[in-house]
Amino acid sequence: MNSKDVARTFFARMDSHDARGALALVAPHANVTLVPLKLQGDAENVGRLYLEQLMSAFPDLSVRVRRLFIGNDNTAVAEVTIEGTQAADFFGIINQEKLMDLDQVWFLHVNDGVIDRIKSYWCQNRLYRRLGVKRLDHVTITA
């Protein structure tokens, strides 16, 4: 598989709630950085923790790739939207059974058909808003 196919398959398996299948495309010791969660570690631990929490907290999760390109350093840059209804706590966010839709960006570095580095960004405040968490920033001005 080329880098684009690897990236598309990775997100298709997330969309199918196949965490094991998605992780099968990732080297076990690949560095995974989830910037909004301030989590960094290898795929075996951090990657697995994120995918399993995401899929158990949002059992109706859908993952849609909006835009994808492959940089000339073989990094797949993907803009995705995830959607789902919360059914369990998620990284400290108490379950209030709210629907969330969240735009994310993933950098997947692919080497010989295997993902060997992952970095992801999203707006954590937007996730908090969707899931009914009290804003953590200092809101002093209201419309």
Binding site: N72, V77, V105, Y121, C123, R126, V139, I141
Partner: protein, 141 residues
């Protein structure tokens, strides 16, 4: 992640020049580097009112210019550092940029607390035709 620069010197040069202008707080030059109808998506900006939601989506020359000007006004020492940048052969450029600044005035719904922030952002530009930025989007943690 270590700084690295790959492929399409022109597209990357345009985006690098954009952040140089941002660092120099030269909003006019930032806008000049974008095409006349360049789209703009500022995902962190989302204000909920009673009957409507205002989002930072529109054009560089309308929404984008206002947001950059307001940011610079609220964070007068705002600066940036490109940590990583890559592109393909079709003019897509993705960059990880550290934006830093100290708040001096309210920004959006955030009152001034005089605090300093260092915020890593992921920014996507699409450059085509005359190597000007056609589309700009950003997401932050």
């Amino acid at each position: 992640m270590h700084m690295s620069v790959t492929s399409i010197p022109n597209a990357i040069e345009v985006v690098t020049a954009f952040f140089d202008a941002y660092r120099e707080q030269d909003v006019e030059h930032m806008v000049e580097l974008c095409s006349d109808n360049a789209d703009f998506h500022y995902m962190p900006f989302e204000v909920w009112d009673k009957q409507r939601v205002i989002r930072g989506d529109g054009k560089v020359r309308t929404i984008g210019k206002v947001i950059w000007t307001t940011l610079i006004d609220s964070f007068p020492d705002i600066t940036n550092n490109i940590m990583y940048i890559t592109s393909d052969d079709e003019g897509n450029v993705a960059a990880e940029v550290m934006i830093s600044g100290t708040q001096a005035k309210p920004f959006g719904t955030m009152g001034n607390q005089g605090l300093h922030y260092d915020l890593p952002l992921r920014i996507h530009h699409r450059t085509v035709m005359e190597k000007r930025i056609m589309r700009r989007g950003r997401e932050r943690p």
